[in-house]
């Protein structure tokens, strides 16, 4: 039975991937991609990657969809011109050859992977006790490979700066995105008042259990960012102007706290980002707690896009 399910899932995912590429209209392709993300959550569950499934559910179900929908709507006015400009046959053949080469190279790499795959999982499980956290994913992300997580947080910050750099000069320092009008029916208004309190509790819950069970700051922050976007979509609150100093401070607070903990480790435990004995879990929680608001803000602001309006609401 489980084989039928897995086989069906794989076939569906491939079909949707093809649809997202070949669909003529951007909105149709975007909906296909949203469904693709949903099914990917199920695939990760079947692969026992519950942490990844949780991330995919939050990112794929919430943020990516909104990002792509907004992009599709923005591109709609240029769609007919883009379709009219048909590239020459040689360009198309070149593109096809390039795609086929990349696919072939990837297939060769995947097939050449050693069997069984080299893994550090037993070592993680052997040493997880020193970190005092129960979830091995959290132990890897915030203890054994904390440097990667720190750099990822900084990369997200760079991504936001990249988005902001697309702002027209006159709008620099202003509010990102378009002004949202309140929904005349009050339906969205209703959801945006009822759902966020529940969503905030759920986001903090998923952050909190991350120490011992699947979950963590990133998944929690994604949920919080989605709730924030919902409130803004309903026109109940406006996006903050990006020149505000509280906003700038919050954006760097997470990485700064992370680096500070790292420096403390360098002094007390002998290496950057190593935790003194007995304080590992406390420090991990400090880092996660500091990163959570920063990540929420960064994810929300990346989704809103470049500032387009002046400071006046």
């Amino acid at each position: 039975m489980i084989e039928i399910l897995n086989f069906g899932l794989a076939a569906l995912i491939l079909g949707l991937a093809v649809w997202a590429v070949v669909a003529r209209e951007a909105p149709a392709a975007v909906v296909g991609f949203i469904v693709y993300g949903l099914l990917l959550t199920l695939v990760w569950l079947q692969l026992q990657g519950i942490d990844v499934a949780l991330t995919e559910a939050a990112i794929g179900g919430g943020l990516t969809g909104v990002l792509l929908i907004n992009a599709a709507v923005r591109l709609r006015s240029t769609e007919s011109t883009a379709r009219a400009q048909r590239p020459s046959a040689s360009t198309r053949w070149l593109a096809a050859a390039l795609s086929a080469t990349v696919t072939g190279a990837l297939a060769i790499c995947v097939l050449a992977l050693p069997e069984p795959a080299p893994t550090l999982a037993p070592e993680v499980l052997a040493n997880i006790a020193v970190t005092e956290v129960g979830n091995p994913i959290t132990a890897v992300l915030l203890a054994f490979r904390a440097m990667d997580t720190l750099l990822e947080a900084i990369v997200l910050l760079f991504a936001l700066i990249g988005v902001w750099s697309l702002a027209p000069d006159r709008a620099w320092g202003g509010r990102p995105g378009l002004l949202q009008q309140a929904d005349p029916n009050g339906m969205l208004d209703y959801v945006a008042r009822v759902l966020p309190p529940i969503g905030i509790v759920a986001g903090i819950y998923i952050f909190w259990i991350g120490a011992d069970y699947p979950g963590g700051k990133f998944q929690g922050a994604t949920l919080l960012a989605a709730m924030w976007l919902l409130v803004m979509m309903a026109g109940l609150a406006d996006a903050p102007p990006i020149s505000r100093s509280w906003l700038r401070w919050l954006l760097v607070a997470g990485p700064l706290a992370f680096i500070a903990v790292g420096v403390v480790g360098a002094v007390t435990a002998g290496a950057f980002l190593s935790y003194p004995h007995g304080f590992a879990k406390t420090l991990i929680l400090v880092i996660e707690f500091a990163l959570m608001p920063t990540l929420t803000l960064i994810l929300g602001l990346i989704l809103l896009g470049a500032p387009l309006r002046g400071e006046a609401a």
Partner: protein, 95 residues
């Protein structure tokens, strides 16, 4: 019991996947978003069934996340369509 739950999950997923024909055929964007909505609910049901079958508690949190964001894409979709046709949304305002 686990076998039955997995079978039910497979059946429900198969059913809502059939609804994806609306994604291919449309005709409108609303129909497409509806098929995504149906697959979202069916997906949550499948996650719950599979999670109960394996006894893995954390799958409930995956379903919780999916449920919180179930209609998020649909909201964004309608909102984007409204923003794209300002004349029509003003007409809706005046009614």
């Amino acid at each position: 019991m686990a076998e039955f739950l997995v079978g039910a999950a497979a059946f429900i997923l198969g059913m809502v996947a059939l609804g994806l024909v609306r994604l291919l055929r449309g005709p409108g964007d609303a129909d497409r978003i509806m098929s995504a909505q149906l697959l979202g609910t069916g997906g949550i049901a499948a996650v719950l069934l599979l999670g109960t079958a394996t006894g893995e508690r954390a799958t409930l949190d995956v379903a919780l996340t999916l449920a919180l964001l179930a209609a998020f894409a649909a909201f964004a979709f309608v909102k984007a369509k409204l923003a794209q046709t300002p004349g029509e949304s003003r007409a809706a305002d005046s009614q």
